[in-house]
């Protein structure tokens, strides 16, 4: 079958709402784009463990400590599901990690901001996971089977992440004046990065049309961003936090919030590697990998010895 006919069948399948599976024919651009997106997503989960993992040893109650441990563990698990789904496209996890460590691969811009106070843990759960879930719910309807199935599982597991974050913020916002200040400060610092993490406006994003047709991308960044803002602003107001956007107003006609200008310069700067924590995050990952090498080698050597003994016996 020639490529043109293959492509027609491939697109017809997607249009009919069927999933593409690992061994099915797929255009090279589709495979490449998926590897890029899925590995970025996996890297984001793994790098995302660091700013929150930071606070496990300092969590202010045993209940909070257990919840945070469970949440960060989920992130490790989600990274693993996603690497595992990416590997079905014929790429090795070690290769993907190499790209992360060398700085070639990107991950979500949001994790290059520091977690400065306990309230940041609340803000991340509420805002960052809130924004991520909106994006992921859309991706769960995507055309690539393994990615879509991983997304379904991840969305199901992540719903508690969002809630625990809001609960932390609510407690702080209703606590002492110091705690309230802590909450507002974290909100001020995380609001704009959370809005930006959903990606640049679609007029700045190349290849959008084809990706939408192939159901690699399901919705425009702006549409997801709008939904996130519409849902989050009332949640902030409910607990008495002020959205740090002087231009924010509700449009009665459209039924949507209108926000002030987004500082895209900052976004692209952080993506390029110049955020407050880019260097530190990658350094931590590289070090963990290096320090783990002898451990992984030992287990491999042991397995080889055992296999040999079995053969002799």
């Amino acid at each position: 079958m020639d490529d043109k006919k293959q492509l027609e069948q491939f697109e017809a399948k997607i249009a009919a709402g069927l999933k593409i599976e690992p061994k099915d024919w797929m255009p090279e651009a589709y495979r490449k784009q998926l590897i890029r997106m899925m590995s970025q997503h996996a890297h984001s989960e793994i790098v995302g463990m660091l700013p929150e993992g930071n606070w496990i040893t300092r969590a202010p109650s045993l209940r909070r400590k257990a919840i945070l441990l469970a949440k960060v563990q989920d992130e490790a698990g989600h990274g693993l599901y996603l690497y595992s789904a990416t590997e079905t496209l014929g790429v090795d996890r070690s290769e993907l990690l190499e790209q992360l460590h060398s700085g070639k691969a990107k991950y979500s811009s949001i994790f290059n901001y520091p977690t400065l106070t306990w309230a940041d843990i609340g803000a991340i759960g509420w805002l960052v996971d809130g924004a991520a879930i909106m994006n992921q719910t859309a991706l769960a309807r995507g055309s690539y089977g393994p990615y879509s199935r991983a997304m379904v599982k991840i969305c199901k597991e992540e719903s508690f992440h969002n809630r625990q974050g809001y609960e932390i913020m609510m407690n702080l916002a209703q606590g002492t004046p110091e705690q309230k200040e802590m909450a507002q400060d974290a909100f001020n610092r995380w609001w704009w990065p959370s809005i930006m993490m959903l990606g640049p406006s679609d007029d700045k994003s190349p290849n959008s049309d084809q990706l939408m047709r192939w159901k690699v991308k399901m919705e425009s960044n702006d549409a997801i961003r709008q939904r996130f803002i519409d849902r989050t602003v009332p949640q902030a107001e409910f607990i008495g936090l002020k959205v740090p956007d002087a231009d924010l107003k509700f449009n009665d006609v459209t039924g949507h919030y209108e926000h002030g200008p987004i500082n895209w310069e900052e976004f692209f700067d952080v993506i390029k590697g110049n955020g407050p924590c880019n260097a530190k995050r990658i350094k931590d990952r590289v070090e963990a990998d290096k320090k783990g090498a002898w451990v992984r080698e030992a287990a491999t050597a042991y397995a080889a010895k055992q296999a040999k003994e079995k053969l002799v016996a």
Binding site: Q73, G77, E297
Partner: protein, 95 residues
């Protein structure tokens, strides 16, 4: 770094007694024992399973999408393999 990369294992989890094991994903592990432990930690964090199988990914052989026509379509025109193919008069029981 790739020299210290462990091989890939496919993971199958049985959710409840009496139902089949279902493919849930994969893990990297140096051997079967560690693969089972890793699978337990990754795929049954929310009591999703009562039993785990792991299989080295390289040991799995699969039919290919090109075989789909030859493999599976011939059975499409044999509806007499399904009980609904047969008309049984009303009133006849236990059939």
């Amino acid at each position: 770094m790739s020299d210290s990369q462990w091989p890939l294992w496919e993971v199958f989890v049985q959710g409840n007694p009496g139902i089949p094991h279902k493919h849930v994903g994969s893990v990297h592990a140096p051997d079967a024992e560690m693969a089972i432990q890793n699978a337990r930690d990754v795929y049954t964090r929310r009591s999703e399973g009562i039993s785990i199988w792991v299989v080295p990914a390289v040991e799995i052989s699969a039919s290919s999408p090109e075989d789909q026509g030859a493999f599976f379509e011939p059975s499409n025109d044999k509806p007499y393999r399904h009980p609904t193919f047969y008309k049984i008069p009303e009133g006849v029981k236990y059939l």
